[in-house]
Each structure stands twice: as structure tokens, then as C-alpha cells.
């Protein structure tokens, strides 16, 4: 491996880096992926409770009605909506749909705004 130039300039001021909308969609896709991973135990726990009989079903419903859990569900709904929209955008660009820059920018906006819109709907339904 060639020796790297240790003096090369490094510019990591995140506040000053210009993020094009596609970059924002890309990093949000990663962040929402990690959030959804962290949400797996909650999801499996609620599934487990809900199938344990009428009492467990009631407990699962009560848990989902508890305000902090509602907050978590809204965040996870945003994460799922964004992750799915950005994922569909990925799958489409794999088959050359929307791979050109203008269409790609438009679909990046759709994923970012669509995710937030779904989260607002979920918040409206739950709160």
C-alpha cells in the first residue's frame, strides 16, 4: 500500500459542509436503519405479550397507550416510513428508474418529506 500523505487537508466542520439532498437522504437511511434495529426488541415483546391470552393482549394495548411508548412508536414510524421510501428509491435506481440527477434529487426530497408526513399522521392518530 502506498504511504499516505499525512499532511493532506482534512475538513470535517459538519456545520459548513454543504449537504446535497441526496446525501441527507442517504445518511438518514442509515440512521433510521439503526433506529429500526434498536426497535426490534420492543416489536417482538409486544407481539409476545399480545399472543399470551386476553390478559396479555390487554397488557400489550396498555403498553402501547403509555405516553413514552407512544413517543417511541412515532419515532419508529418515522424511521420505517423514511427507510422504506429511501429503500424503494434505491431499488428503483437499481433498475435505472430515477438514476439521473434531477429525478434523483426529486425522489430524495420525496423520501425526506414523505417520512416526516407519515410521522405527523402517526402522531395525529396516536396523540
Amino acid at each position: 500500500m502506498p504511504r499516505l500523505n499525512k499532511q493532506r487537508p482534512v475538513f470535517f466542520n459538519l456545520a459548513e459542509i454543504q449537504m446535497p439532498v441526496g446525501a441527507l437522504t442517504s445518511i438518514t437511511h442509515r440512521i433510521t436503519g439503526v433506529l429500526l434495529f434498536l426497535g426490534i426488541p420492543l416489536c417482538v415483546y409486544v407481539l409476545d405479550l399480545s399472543l399470551q391470552g386476553p390478559a396479555g393482549y390487554g397488557q400489550a394495548a396498555a403498553l402501547l397507550a403509555y405516553l413514552p411508548v407512544k413517543g417511541a412508536v412515532i419515532v419508529l414510524t418515522w424511521a420505517l416510513a423514511h427507510h422504506m421510501l429511501a429503500g424503494i428509491r434505491h431499488l428503483l435506481s437499481d433498475i435505472d428508474i430515477g438514476a439521473q440527477l434531477p429525478a434523483s434529487r426529486r425522489s430524495a426530497w420525496i423520501a425526506n418529506i414523505g417520512g416526516l408526513a407519515v410521522a405527523l399522521l402517526a402522531a395525529g392518530a396516536l396523540l
Binding site: 436503519g33 409476545d48 399472543l51 399470551q52 391470552g53 422504506m84 429503500g87
Partner: protein, 112 residues
């Protein structure tokens, strides 16, 4: 043993699992909207029916594979200290395996 095409395989796993989960989630949400189970009996009958429990098991299998490939990519990109990376990968793998066993246990024991 030398492993070939692992990056290609991860790419395929990510896409196949994504498409299956999209279809499952769409079906799940449409069903919940059109015919929401009003009480425990309806919910239990729906989820533990043979077709639905197979579809649910396949959903979680896709989810765990998808999460593994995704988390592995993230850890390889951001965690450069090898021991920390291996430890975190082990933690993620153990967590996903535990979640998988939990789901198998749920679907198996509630099936009756």
C-alpha cells in the same frame, strides 16, 4: 476456506429481504385497516393461522438478515479499531440471534 462473492451475496440478501418485507408490511397494514381484529380472539386466530405464521416467520427471517447486513455495513464504515468492531459485530449478531429464537418460540408455542 476462501469465500467468494460475499459482497454480491450481501447485496442480493439486502434487496430480496427488502422486497419481501415491503410486501408483508403492505399486506399487514391493509389487513389491519380493512378488517382490524377487535379483540384477542381475532388477533390470535389471524396471526397463528398456518399461512400467516409461516409468512410472519419469513418476515422476521428477512428482517434479521437485513438488519445484520445493514449494521455490518455501518460498523465496517465507522468503527476502525478492529477489536471494538469485532466486539460490536458479536453483540449485534448475538442480539439478532436471540430475537430470532424469541420469535420462533412465540410462533411455535402460540400456534396451538
Amino acid at each position: 476456506m476462501k469465500r467468494k462473492y460475499t459482497a454480491l451475496r450481501a447485496w442480493v440478501v439486502q434487496r430480496v429481504s427488502a422486497v419481501y418485507m415491503l410486501l408483508f408490511i403492505a399486506f399487514f397494514l391493509v389487513h389491519l385497516t380493512v378488517d382490524p381484529p377487535q379483540h384477542y380472539e381475532g388477533w390470535h386466530t389471524w396471526i397463528t393461522g398456518s399461512a400467516m405464521s409461516v409468512a410472519t416467520a419469513a418476515f422476521f427471517a428477512a428482517l434479521l438478515a437485513h438488519a445484520w447486513v445493514g449494521l455490518r455495513d455501518v460498523l465496517m464504515d465507522y468503527v476502525h479499531v478492529v477489536t471494538v468492531r469485532v466486539a460490536l459485530l458479536g453483540l449485534v449478531g448475538a442480539g439478532l440471534a436471540a430475537a430470532g429464537l424469541w420469535v420462533v418460540h412465540i410462533l411455535w408455542t402460540r400456534h396451538v
